[in-house]
Symmetry: C2
Subunit: 308 residues, 2 copies
Amino acid sequence: VAILLYSPNDDLLAWRRELLARRPDLDVRIWPETGDPAQVTMALVWLPPPGMLAGLPNLGLILSLGAGVDAMLRDTTLPDLPLCRMIDPALTRSMSEFVLLHVLKYHRQLDLYALQQRRGEWSFYLALPASERRVGIMGLGVLGEDAGRLLARHGLKVSGWSRTSKTIEGIASFAGEKELDAFLGELDILVCLLPLTAETDSILGTKLFARLPRGARLINVARGQHLVEQDLIDALDTGQLAHATLDVMRTEPLPPEHPFWRHPRIDLTPHVASYSLPESGVEIVIENIRRFGAGEPLLHVVDRGRGY
Amino acid sequence: VAILLYSPNDDLLAWRRELLARRPDLDVRIWPETGDPAQVTMALVWLPPPGMLAGLPNLGLILSLGAGVDAMLRDTTLPDLPLCRMIDPALTRSMSEFVLLHVLKYHRQLDLYALQQRRGEWSFYLALPASERRVGIMGLGVLGEDAGRLLARHGLKVSGWSRTSKTIEGIASFAGEKELDAFLGELDILVCLLPLTAETDSILGTKLFARLPRGARLINVARGQHLVEQDLIDALDTGQLAHATLDVMRTEPLPPEHPFWRHPRIDLTPHVASYSLPESGVEIVIENIRRFGAGEPLLHVVDRGRGY
């Protein structure tokens, strides 16, 4: 049984080590040392070049190293095989930590103080207790729910919006287009953790921003394609949004001439909000490899119609 | 029984409201409407002008609206009366929240990403799990202990240093000058929450910085007088310190020409790390007023010899 590993970002030697520590019988190959493609029945990959997986004639299972599979689904040559998302405690924890950090940044108004520092201005604003700071999370999947729970444990006032209604302790739930206005209308800080689908593509645009209270803050840690870039710049210019934090871009790396780089009211990070670790992420991979071998139902299979 | 209120920062009308809600019999006066100074037996104050309290002939009790009383103790005319510090759950919580925010900022390397954004550079650094990020807190009083516990709950690796050894779950304790090297030598992030005393004045200087690992980060949320300003600039210039966050200054407001304003590796905030709220801080004030009236021992009395 051969499994092929590919990723431009991950430490694939560490992944191989963790896999072999649990399943010494596995034949773990790291691209481009694929060997005989006909022997490869499984692939553990992140951002594989289009066509790469189509070149493996006996492939039966695709395991994603990341939580979001939208890029893979855009590959029109992607074989019609079971595709499983990465669910890794380290990935979830790092995302929630990153969300908490940026929510607290806005809660404590560091964006205003940073602008004041540039002007050499010493003045302070009324502080709000965490219990009165209204944070909304779009997307209540594994990542959104965990981030919401962490924010609620910290004492913030948390609400969430998703396609279907959820019941999560400490998080006020809103669902569907008809509850979107009520959700957005009460927020100081909006966090986007949606999956990227046809329905959520470009959802962060002028129409949505107009439904937020004036001066709200935006944190996008999902996908760059959720955001209409010019609409964000317009909303910041008019003051409808006070500040934005972006970890993901439509084009990554962000091109050098892009206006986001120098915008005084945008904080950029280079897609570092979350990361999976081989030591913890390997567990779900091993379990799905076992299930695949035993012909049992797989975990966290992507619904291609839904897109996540 | 008259109590006089003074503060350049606090909402004294709210403090009066909260006091009267619990003790309608109190005669609460807000400076400069002092009335007959001879009737004032208690003062609830923050940064009173030197000499102000000395002008109250029958004063018997001084209650501070803030946690640190160093500024009041520098007033050589301060009457030799019981002086009680503010212990307020909201003050403690807001300080711990602010410390967590800035520790996470350094843990997730936002200081490096902010510098990269200015240069238009997209590159990312190896992420460290919170459990491997070493944070040290100088000062394990009410505020230091609470901040340390919050950091430990978040999964960070926390140690603390204080005058005398403390036993706090989840925090490795170091005490006194002879354990200072061992404490400092292992830190990625140093947080100063010391009281300002003759011993701690100017403690954050070249000698201390040299004992930290190269590239450590500093967060000072205690007093500006803890820091030797030129030593910080030197340590940032040589790279001994990678970045500093300062909420307190030797002179507040920080003068417009001060080099800290424009230093690319210093984040400034205008003394906003913690704040007491009348709704919660009033409880300890009411209790000390009761004890004062009943001749019982007061809570949180400052030891003037020790300075806190």
